[in-house]
């Protein structure tokens, strides 16, 4: 049993006279990237919005360039998940050039991608989620961070976290040519063959990652699920529960797949709503525009946009770990499947059948996915055929194509059109956090409404509102990483007239 000193779940609330609360992710873009919560005369939440920054001119930047440049350009769009952009882009080029990669190339791409998942999910769980679950949502902000987690669980565990996250990076570097901005994807294949020595090295790292996945699952059970206060938070239907549609990629047996397959959408009861190929996405998804934000909000076309509401008549869907676990029937690897079964059984014992609509269950799903990514990485790295030189397929004159992968944060769509010379004439991308944007907004509003009553607020309470947004692992500020633009949050409580009552910062 892994134990940690008593986490701080609640803190003392004080009555605010303010009517507007802002939670600002601090960026250099003044007036962008924040959560605003409006209180009514009684001090209850009237409304809440999440506004996010968006870069300008990326589409224009890509049009007129050779499509072969796009896997390298689009992966610069985001400093957080360049690997996902690189692969979605490479798959879009497979479609543009009607080029089928040979089996070795597919395996190498997927192996690379399991490295990405391993690194990304470890970073989110330990650096971003664990502070809330190990130290407690109401622990002081200056302790509620990854350093505080290391203090609580001990330096040796911290060292294991760093080591395995690095292994994920190393696998990406070996297969992808570079750890952060990969360069290996080509239409119909990959550019780089790997050696037997490299394969064996990756196999050893993958073995260790599988063990670390087991450790993380155990940690989640011991520290989070065994704590009735945390279980209560996860099951809190007033604050963290949305009955939405879900979207994610599956293989032919409806097992979760991060790299390839059909996109499956299920309804609020778990029934299949639609199953589609990447090339059909425009028939399934439309995008809604709100006047107060730059980011568009995708919704299911056939259902329609009904605003920030849930249920079968609202086209809002969720992607990412919770979306994927709700659209699949499990995993192709044994340890992840066993934990999936435990997840379903636990929820069933709690009276939940069908999809799990509990927003904080994102974290559990992410831990299960970490286990699966490590196991799949080991399967692929143990396959001695991946050193084959047969890594390029034939390709045809360029036309138009769509590539989709599951980014760690959710379904990622790249769509390009090319003229006969390979020059890009059209580009459209729907990124993971955009898919979740309407749902994140709805979650933030729900948590704020449930938690802020009669104007009573506290730093811990506002952090619990943030938890509704953080569990999606949102990645809003694709691209900018200036020194002062570090990820930080500011929560401001304001009166109806906009004047500030109180400010909380975590920086």
């Amino acid at each position: 049993m892994i134990t940690v000193a008593g986490p701080i779940i609640n803190d003392t609330t004080v009555k605010t006279k303010e009517r507007k609360i802002s939670i600002d992710p601090i960026t250099r873009l003044e007036g962008h990237g924040k959560i605003e919560i409006f209180l009514n005369d009684a001090g209850d939440v009237a409304d809440a919005y999440l506004q996010v920054p968006e870069l300008r001119g990326f589409e224009r930047f890509c049009i007129g360039r050779h499509v072969m440049e796009l896997p390298v350009l689009t992966n610069r769009l985001c400093g957080v998940c360049p690997a996902a952009h690189h692969l979605a882009s490479t798959k879009a080029l497979d479609a543009v050039f009607n080029a089928e990669p040979p089996p070795t190339a597919k395996k190498l791409r997927e192996l690379f991608y399991m490295g990405q998942y391993t690194h990304s999910h470890i970073a989110h769980f330990y650096a971003l989620a664990a502070p809330d679950f190990v130290l407690g949502p109401s622990a002081p902000a200056n302790k509620r961070n990854v350093l505080g987690v290391v203090d609580a669980v001990g330096v040796p565990i911290g060292a294991e976290v760093i080591k395995h996250r690095s292994y994920g990076q190393k696998v990406q570097e070996i297969v992808g040519g570079r750890a952060t901005h990969p360069v290996f994807g080509l239409p119909g294949g990959v550019s780089k063959q790997i050696s037997e020595e490299e394969r064996a090295q990756m196999e050893e790292m993958a073995k260790s990652c599988v063990e670390f996945g087991k450790f993380t699952v155990k940690l989640f059970h011991d520290v989070v699920l065994a704590n009735k206060d945390y279980l209560g938070l996860i099951l809190n239907q007033d604050a963290y529960y949305l009955e939405t549609y879900y979207m994610g990629m599956v293989d032919k047996n409806n097992k979760s797949n991060f790299y390839d397959g059909d996109i499956r959408v299920v309804d609020q009861t778990g029934k299949e709503f639609v199953r589609f190929k990447p090339s059909q996405y425009l028939d399934i998804i439309s995008e809604h525009v709100e006047p107060w934000t730059y980011m568009k909000m995708p919704f299911l076309k056939k259902v329609g946009w009904k605003g920030f509401v849930t249920g079968p008549s609202s086209g809002i869907y969720r992607v990412g770990p919770l979306g994927r676990i709700n659209v699949c029937t499990g995993y192709t690897t044994p340890l992840a499947q066993a934990e999936y079964d435990a997840f379903k059984k636990t929820m069933k014992d709690l009276g939940v059948t069908g999809p799990v609509h509990h927003t904080l269950a994102f974290h559990w799903a992410r831990v299960i996915e970490l286990q699966h990514a490590a196991e799949r990485m080991l399967e692929l790295a143990s396959d001695k055929t991946i050193t084959s030189a047969d890594i390029r397929g034939k390709f045809n004159p360029p036309k138009e194509g769509v590539g989709i992968v599951e980014a760690p944060r959710g379904t990622l769509i790249h769509h390009y059109a090319s003229d006969k010379d390979g020059i890009c004439t059209k580009i459209n991308m729907i990124v993971a956090t955009t898919n979740n944007y309407a749902a994140i907004n709805t979650s933030v509003k729900q948590a704020a409404k449930a938690l802020i009553k009669g104007g009573m607020v506290s730093p811990g309470l506002l952090n619990k509102v943030e938890m509704a947004f953080r569990c999606y692992d949102p990645c809003n500020s694709c691209g900018t990483h200036a020194l002062n633009g570090g990820p930080a949050l500011e929560v401001t409580v304001k009166r109806k007239d906009g004047s500030v009552v109180e400010k909380q910062r975590n920086f």
């Binding site: 970073a123 350093l147 290391v150 750890a179 920086f507």
Partner: protein
């Protein structure tokens, strides 16, 4: 002495890429004993890279209140102490990553970390070029890194 220069930023986001531009110029010089890396963001990747070096120089864009584009700020780890303790929506910042390294693997951390932060004008528009004032600061930033590493010719 094992030295590493890290150019942090996004090379297709106007001045956000200034750290990358500096890194590329330094990389082209082939400085003896100096590793030069480009990095899209701070966080744990940065920690991986600085390990087992004696000195690390981090070059990045910055925007300060009332700052003049092209101005070069020389900063040190202690200048970011207030930034260390932040939990974040999608990543940990450079200062937190370094603090984490000092906690977990202190013996492998650089004894000195210097920041060269170049005041940016445009961090919003996609583009490969720097704005004129930041472009003009580029040679000064390169020279400053060389001076810090004790490699300047003058």
């Amino acid at each position: 002495m094992r030295a590493i220069v890290l150019g942090v930023g996004n090379p297709i986001l106007s001045d956000d890429g200034v750290g990358i531009h500096v890194a590329r110029e330094l990389g082209a010089k082939g400085l003896p004993g100096v590793t030069v890396e480009e990095l899209p963001a701070g966080g744990l990747e940065l920690l991986d890279l600085v390990l087992d070096h004696d000195i690390a120089v981090i070059v990045d864009a910055i925007q300060t209140t009332g700052g003049t584009p092209g101005h070069i700020h020389e900063l040190e780890e202690k200048d970011f102490e207030r930034a260390v303790h932040g939990s974040s929506p999608h990543g940990i910042n450079i200062a937190t990553a370094l603090a984490l390294g000092r906690r977990i693997v202190p013996e492998r951390m650089p004894h000195t970390v210097k920041y060269i932060a170049i005041e940016a004008a445009d961090l919003v528009n996609v583009g490969e070029k720097l704005t004129p004032q930041v472009q003009e600061a580029l040679p000064r930033a390169v020279a400053l890194v060389e001076a810090i590493l004790g490699l300047s010719r003058s």
